[in-house]
């Protein structure tokens, strides 16, 4: 490889690198740096202050709880769906398209649709009043339930698509062989199909979890003032309260948590994946 080619390569890369470094990496470092220097000297005090704050603890736990719950529900609903589409559906292309369509539709519209459905005059309320479960219509919105519903609908397509990706690669011969060797349908599912799908399940789970942890539109529209999550907290501190120090600390916590959880998921997947 000649020196001239080397130089050409560098020249082609440099504008992009400068752009990302200048507009993202430097601001990111400044963010971390300032969060450790609340006053002139280095200290963890902003972080200690935050972690001791009961309000922050509640918000943090709520974010974790809703994200984990939504990930679990997505896995539970996504697995059979992906399996059916990958192995038994006659209209696979169309099914995939119907999963992609909501992904391409704005999260604002998708969250808003639940405001129509779950609201006081919504179809769910009408039904519950009609069958006598509710005496009078009551809002099912602005609580953890509506947020979870919103999250699951928002990120379920990602889970389905990543699962279909791995399930398409499982040869039908394997389940046939398991059947021939005397395994029932359930046993061949749990001992053949499931272990081979774990990598897709993990990819999907990381997407759903990080998606829920960082989503802003859904908690903003379907959550209320007392169901704040980390992302709405960052926005509130930064834009409503203009407390940039607090906003920075919460932002750093968000980055660390999403990265930590993704790497834990990935490590677990490597351990349980039989072929990796």
């Amino acid at each position: 490889m000649s020196r001239k080619k080397n130089l050409l390569g560098m020249l082609l890369v440099v504008p992009g690198v400068l752009f990302v470094v200048f507009f993202m990496l430097v601001p990111l470092f400044s963010l971390c740096l300032t969060s450790f220097f609340p006053q002139q000297s280095f200290s963890f005090s902003s972080y200690w202050g935050l972690f001791k704050d009961v309000y922050f603890q509640q918000v943090f736990m709520r974010s974790m709880r809703l994200s984990l719950l939504s990930t679990f529900v997505c896995a539970l609903l996504g697995f059979p769906t992906a399996y059916y589409i990958s192995k038994h559906s006659k209209h696979k292309g169309m099914m995939m398209a119907f999963a992609v369509f909501p992904m391409f539709t704005s999260p604002v519209i998708r969250s808003f649709s639940w405001m129509v459905i779950l609201g006081k005059r919504g179809i769910v309320n009408n039904f519950l009043v009609a069958i006598g479960l509710f005496a009078k219509p009551q809002s099912l919105l602005y609580n953890e339930f509506s947020m979870t519903v919103g999250f699951v609908q928002l990120f379920l397509p990602q889970m389905i698509l990543s699962l279909i990706g791995v399930m398409d690669n499982i040869p039908d011969d394997l389940t046939l062989a398991a059947g021939n060797l005397g395994a029932g349908r359930l046993r061949s599912f749990f001992e053949v199909v499931f272990p081979l799908s774990v990598s897709g399940l993990v990819t999907g789970s990381v997407l759903v979890f990080t998606g829920c942890m960082t989503a802003y539109t859904t908690p903003q529209l379907l959550g209320g003032a007392d169901t704040r999550v980390l992302s709405t907290m960052v926005y509130q501190y930064a834009m409503s309260l203009r407390d940039w120090t607090q906003a920075s600390v919460v932002a750093v916590v968000m980055i660390v948590v999403t990265m930590l959880v993704s790497s834990v998921f990935n490590t677990v997947s490597k351990k349980v994946n039989p072929i990796a």
Partner: protein, 259 residues
């Protein structure tokens, strides 16, 4: 088929859950009632007519489209040469540079918006439009890099060598040999990136200013105070546009290439 009845039923219900709410909105947009309800009453197109008279929506939609396309174009201008160089040449820190280009997708958008506002927009006193443009370019770079890198990985560089040894210049070869081979990859990257950018809320929420705003932000603030079928009408227009884009992708590139 009866064997898989249970699985089929779950799949059906999951799809009702995914698509149903969107249908509800579409149907509610034709309702004659003042408030947004489902099932609505009667049939009217007045809410669609109202959307067309609301300049705030029209203006913000225009800006959203311009920013999404311009941001993707700049991301392509920065990303395409970089992706080419990363595939074609050997130099120090290659892995680091690759990670760097993909990193904007790892940082939560809401954090990206916040640090852009604090350390770029406020620090250099930027106007709203250039700030949005920079932010949305950052959003698009990972999309462009990921797809272009993978289509370049499937390209046989021996073809390029052949063109060069037959006397074509490097630049000529790039535009006439390399580019035509990866153009469908580039097209699908651009479509994904434009859609993602158009729908973005958390980044734009920090960067829009009074009077200059993006469509999703405008819709969100409208929803906070109003609850009428106008929003349902806008949502339906956007969904029809999305379907149109999807059909276009299916006809030209195949939907499989973008997911």
């Amino acid at each position: 088929m009866k064997k898989h009845f249970g699985l089929g039923l779950i799949t059906f219900l999951v799809y009702v859950f995914l698509i149903g709410p969107l249908l509800v909105i579409a149907l509610a947009s034709f309702s004659e009632t003042k408030a947004l309800v489902f099932p609505g009453k009667g049939f009217t197109l007045e809410w669609y007519a109202k959307v067309l008279t609301m300049t705030s929506f029209i203006e913000s939609a225009k800006l959203s489209i311009v920013i999404a396309i311009a941001g993707t174009a700049i991301a392509l201008l920065l990303g395409l040469p970089a992706a080419y160089a990363l595939n074609r040449f050997r130099f120090k820190g290659k892995e680091f540079i690759k990670t760097l280009f993909l990193s904007p997708v790892l940082i939560p958008c809401i954090v990206l918006g916040f640090i852009m506002l604090r350390y770029v927009v406020n620090a250099y006193d930027l106007e709203v439009v250039p700030s949005l443009l920079i932010g949305h370019t950052l959003l698009s770079i990972p999309y462009v890099m990921r797809v272009v890198t993978s289509s370049l990985a499937n390209f046989d560089f021996a073809t390029e060598e052949a063109a060069c040894s037959l006397g074509a210049t490097r630049v000529y070869t790039f535009f006439n040999v390399v580019l035509p081979n990866i153009k469908s990859g580039i097209a699908s990257a651009c479509i994904m990136s434009v859609i993602n950018s158009f729908n973005n809320v958390s980044l734009s929420a920090f960067l829009t200013g009074p009077g200059v705003t993006m469509l999703p932000i405008e819709i969100m603030s409208y929803v906070e105070y109003h609850f009428d079928p106008t929003i349902a009408a806008i949502a339906t227009i956007l969904m029809v546009a999305t379907l149109g884009v999807m059909l276009l992708i299916e006809k030209t590139l195949g939907l499989q290439s973008v997911v």
